[in-house]
């Protein structure tokens, strides 16, 4: 089958070729190939480690959720929009908390966007037009391996025809694999992104004289060189990563970077965009945004949605022990949350819906295996730039989809609640 869509990273490559006999995919990167390779699955639904039918597991899951005062519904980045929609409805019915993986990934960028907006573009636009691309605290060579080839480094665009016509800059705290492909590498001291962005803003607004000789470990000459490159670009793009959102400054780093873009846009054209991780982490934010107005950290305990990451993000809720059950869909918080948050997850009944066994499976009371979207199930996902793509079903399976499982849970919850 041709034009197979990859459901691993946010690049959501749509040009794979799948050999159904060998069960192998061509054209995809190492991450995509691993996604499409056969691996250990959760064999059957389980309650307390004992194999049961889907119906029994769903009944138990609904019972736990209905009996909880405030359940946490978390995950959603590696599933389809159709399933996420049901998750949001379920959170509202249960008066629980909806949060998603961006909470520990790119959500600080969302806070910055609320403050400043986001001058963005599609990846296609970057491929065709960008003559300067800056990767700031992002490392696509390891996290989005085909991004550079398809859109941002060696991509062959309509106006920017090849690598020679495109300048690539990497700003990072260490010489990453992506840095090795760059025309200019700027090594920043960890936690100094904000200061470096401020220095660039000062230079670009005609105040280079106030910039000291070294800012965050970067020599002023290098900052002047980067500012000149940015100013002279016909169309520039900053792709920022977790180096900016997970270090000191978090949302304020992104906010400052957007202000830098606004300044550049007085004289030329620049865009800025996050390098989103999971294939549908954008959907995990967009779907609740079009359902209830917010992207993450949404509490329904008062019967209407409230947004407050300081209170309702999964890590804060768990650290405060402010949930008494959890439904985890397509995610592994036991592996990806700080120990202080995992501690409470071990104390409460956890329901997991996932195709693969992971650390959350080890602590879950109810485990419901599901089909893999893009391989065993079709559905809609948003690529990192917000473009919706219909991911395909290429193999038959007896596993239920997340959508079907959630639909059944929702029915049982409605019945139990009366």
């Amino acid at each position: 089958m041709e034009d197979v869509i990859c459901t691993f990273c946010g690049s959501v490559c749509d040009d794979g070729e799948f050999d159904a006999e060998k069960k192998k995919v061509k054209k995809f990167c190492r991450l995509g190939s691993a996604k499409f390779s056969e691996k250990e699955r959760i064999k059957a639904p389980m309650v307390d480690g004992k194999e049961v039918s889907y119906e029994t597991a769903i009944e138990k899951a609904a019972e736990i959720l209905v009996n909880a005062k405030k359940p946490l519904l978390y995950g959603w980045a590696s599933t389809a929009n159709e399933a996420i929609r049901l998750g949001v409805i379920l959170a509202e019915k249960l008066r629980g908390v909806y949060d998603q993986c961006a909470s520990v990934c790119h959500a600080p960028g969302t806070l910055a966007v609320i403050e400043e907006g986001l001058p963005g573009a599609t990846l296609g636009s970057v491929k065709n037009r960008a003559d300067v691309v800056v990767f700031w605290g992002s490392n696509p060579a390891e996290a989005h391996p085909r991004h550079g080839m398809r859109y941002s480094i060696s991509a062959k665009g309509l106006l920017i025809k090849d690598r020679k016509q495109r300048k690539v800059v990497v700003v990072d705290v260490r010489p990453t694999k992506t840095a090795k492909m760059a025309d200019l590498f700027i090594q920043v001291k960890p936690g100094y992104d904000y200061a470096v962005i401020s220095a660039l803003r000062a230079i670009l607004s005609g105040n280079a004289d106030v910039v000291p000789s070294d800012v965050g470990g970067v020599a002023k000459e290098k900052l002047l060189q980067l500012a000149e490159m940015m100013k002279n670009a016909k169309y520039g793009a900053i792709f920022y990563g977790l180096g900016v959102t997970q270090s000191r400054g978090r949302d304020r780093n992104v906010e400052n970077a957007i202000k830098l873009i606004q300044l550049l846009n007085r004289t030329t054209r620049w865009v800025i965009w996050p390098m989103r991780g999971h294939y549908n982490v954008v959907g995990a934010g967009e779907v609740p945004a079009w359902e209830v107005g917010y992207q993450y950290a949404i509490d329904f305990s008062r019967g209407y949605p409230r947004f407050s990451p300081a209170e309702f993000s999964a890590v804060e809720v768990l650290k405060r022990k402010d949930c008494d059950a959890a439904l985890i869909v397509a995610s592994d918080p036991a592996a990806h949350f700080p120990a202080a948050a995992v501690k409470h997850l071990k104390q409460i009944p956890v329901i997991q819906i996932d195709p693969f066994p992971n650390m959350t499976t080890l602590l879950a009371k109810v485990v419901i295996p599901s089909a893999v979207y893009g391989i065993e199930a079709e559905g809609t996902a948003y690529r990192m730039d917000g473009i919706p793509l219909r991911v395909k079903k290429i193999l038959e399976t007896s596993y239920w989809t997340d959508e079907k499982i959630l639909e059944e849970i929702l029915k049982r919850v409605e019945k139990l609640k009366g």
Binding site: V104, R174, Q246, S247, E316, P338, A340, V342, K346
Partner: protein, 122 residues
């Protein structure tokens, strides 16, 4: 003993094994720390040696590797080993500080836990 600034992040190996969390391959992809050559030498380490990472928030034993990284900085792949020592404070954003935590590094004879053992220890 050495004090470094610890950052966590993605790697290709971590990504390629992330849907096989209970496998040995995943464990291998995330149970190490990369130190600069200078810091690696100053601790008297050789490849395959184990180190204990201790921060204000916890400690974990991992394998030590030499990496292309500035002196005083250390890298650990994102995952359960990193999450045993990173800063859970979110400063009101919901986002823990996964990057930029001061950590003590010392050579140890203690064994590297499996992911199951790590979860049990929490």
């Amino acid at each position: 003993m050495l004090v470094v600034e610890l950052i966590s992040g993605r790697t290709l190996d971590q990504g390629a094994t992330v849907e096989e969390k209970l496998s040995e391959e995943y464990s291998k992809a995330v149970n190490y720390i990369e130190l600069s050559e200078e810091d690696f030498k100053s601790l008297g380490l050789k490849e395959g040696d184990r180190v204990k990472i201790s921060t204000e928030f916890g400690s974990v034993v991992v394998f030590a590797k030499k990496g292309e990284i500035p002196k005083g900085l250390a890298f650990i792949p994102m995952g359960p080993y990193a999450n045993a020592v990173i800063d859970p404070a979110t400063d009101g954003t919901g986002m823990p500080q996964f990057k930029g935590v001061m950590a003590k590094i010392e050579k140890t004879e203690e064994k590297v836990k499996t992911v199951r053992e790590l979860l049990e220890a929490i």
